[in-house]
Amino acid sequence: MLAPYALGLVGLVLVPAVVTLAMAFADYDLIQAPRWIGLDNFRELASDEIFHAALRNSLVFAAFAVPARLLLALGLALLLHRRAAVVGTARTTAALPSAVPEIAYGLLWLWLFNPLYGPINQLLQIGGGNGLTALGRTPPQWLTDPADAQAAIVAMSVFTIGEMFVILLATRQALPPEVYELAAIEDATGWDVFRRITLPLMAPVLGLLLLRDTILSFQVSFVPVLVVTEGGPPPYGTTNLSLFVYRTGFEYLRYGYAAAATIVMLLLTIGAVALQWHLIRRYRRLYGL
């Protein structure tokens, strides 16, 4: 029963992982035989400006996108956990963007972000004149200004939270209603209920989603960056680690160098996860969960 899964695990995960690890210490371009070069790849990464930009962009993305995605998913779950008139439609709407194929999703945003005829900037220009916003400012140059382009990538990511939303919705619905009824009898305010009851009771799941989304953050930003900004604005406005690895490996055929960058990515992820795991453990001990 387990054989197909084990086969997949070995063939698609374990073997590539071991090969990647080995290649990180080699020079390989698909044509000549791999050459063992020790830590040279890592030394080059340390002084590579493009890699630094990619690293910075990935960290900025994670720092903004992960909390924003989690908070938005939590907010929607708390807003839509009750039964009410339009809640069903609203839940579907919240989950739907995650079901759109990534490339199509990217192409859609390419149109949404178009500075001239894209609906986002059209909306922002309502009430303003001469192509300015109502506040008299130039609308964001989504795809040509580096900071605006970064914001665009984060904005794209906060709508694909369907899975997180569904998990948090289920978690909230599984909380015992009597606990909330008791809080109502004790006249707890909405803020007290959220802070003293909902948040602590949902914290284990929120912690888990935080870990998972941090791990995923290096991956979810790949397609948007590839399709919408192509790593730009030039030179490397939104180039992130996954795009760096992709280009270095599959466009410049520097497989060893790309593998070394992958290892750095992996170490970063492990570091972030270890830190969060530590914090979550401390929290759980605090509440004896």
Binding site: I185, D187, R196
Partner: protein, 338 residues
């Protein structure tokens, strides 16, 4: 009167559960609401607490009309069947919760919580979390939490039903003593008639969203107002036979009447009584219950286990008529005895 319900109707989604309940509870009284499941007992409690709206009628607590007030403004506290303790808070934090969210300073709230815990005997558990407590201990913490805020009315929704038999009997007695010590209005919901008879200053018997009878345990037992109360309170339930049936005493043999008598009132010492066939005998320690059939009517009799008849035997059946009741067969209401 500390709690008054006047013509209270309530229901969910077009289905009415309470059909005009009138009740008043004195300020130091322990009222037990007794009824089978589905009678609307919990709904009644939840309507008083404000967790469900009353679709009609008025609820008055300590002289204030609270019908339209939200739960937090009614000054009641509630013990849920599941206790509803916060799993992430210690027992002490659970007890102090209501005080702290009402902005009492933390130190003062903790002190009140400790005193409430001492009153119910769980002061040694304050630093533990619900997950580390037994069912009985959780029940105490829930009780202490209700006590800490000193509300006008305590509402207890089957608080003993999750305890095992021995603990239930023990806690029942403690609850009665606690109520005597605290001296406040307490409404206790249960489906357990023994619990109701032991605990209640008065009992309100609820059936399908209507109050069948309100009275002291003695009144409920001695003069049940309806055949429902007569049969629901008492185990095995009261025997009910047509008034013109095989067992006729000094009561009028009205074909529209029903006679009721408890198993204790059945005698076998009258040789002129109609014959009853013993179909089955249950022995419960010192007591025995004989299930007889008298001219196709089932009759249960209680006797000392030593005096029990053999299954299949036939005995002359008679009734101690001083302990018999007469009901109207059509309405089920108690008929006045001539």
């Amino acid at each position: 009167m500390s709690l008054v319900l006047a013509d209270v109707h309530a229901g969910y989604g077009g289905h009415e559960v309470l059909h005009g309940v009138d009740l008043s509870v004195a300020s130091d009284e322990l009222l037990v609401v007794l009824g089978p499941s589905g009678a609307g007992k919990s709904t009644l409690l939840r309507v008083v607490a404000g967790l469900e709206p009353a679709t009609r009628g008025r609820i008055v607590i300590a002289g204030r009309d609270v019908t339209r007030l939200r739960p937090g403004r009614r000054n009641v506290s509630m013990v849920f069947q599941s206790y509803a303790l916060f799993p992430h808070l210690t027992a002490g934090e659970n007890i102090a919760f209501g005080l702290e969210v009402r902005d009492m300073p933390r130190a003062a709230a903790r002190e009140r919580a400790r005193r409430a815990a001492e009153t119910v005997g769980c002061a040694h558990l304050l630093d533990r979390r619900p997950g580390q407590l037994s069912g009985g201990e959780r029940q105490r913490v829930a009780l202490a939490r209700a006590l800490a805020r000193e509300p006008d009315v305590f509402l207890l929704d089957e608080p003993l039903s999750n305890l095992d038999q021995e603990l239930r009997v023990e806690t029942r007695a403690e609850l009665k003593a606690l109520h005597a010590a605290v001296g406040r209005t307490l409404v206790h919901v249960t489906h357990d008639q023994t619990e109701a008879l032991v605990l209640g200053d008065r009992i309100a018997v609820l059936r399908e969203g209507r109050v069948e009878q309100v009275g002291t345990p003695e009144e409920i037992w001695r003069t049940p107002a309806t055949t429902f109360v007569a049969r629901f309170v008492g185990s095995p339930p009261m025997n009910l036979l047509p008034a013109d049936g095989p067992l006729r005493g000094p009561l009028p043999a009205d074909p529209a009447g029903q006679v009721g008598f408890r198993p204790e009132a059945v005698r076998f010492d009258d040789p002129d009584g109609p014959p009853g066939t013993v179909e089955r005998v249950e022995v419960i320690g010192e007591d025995a219950y004989a299930y007889l059939r008298v001219d196709r009517h089932p009759v249960v009799a209680r006797m000392p286990a030593a005096d029990r008849p053999a299954t299949g035997s036939t005995l002359p059946v008679a009734v101690r008529w001083a302990d018999a009741h007469l009901f109207d067969a059509a309405t089920g209401r108690r008929a006045t005895r001539p």
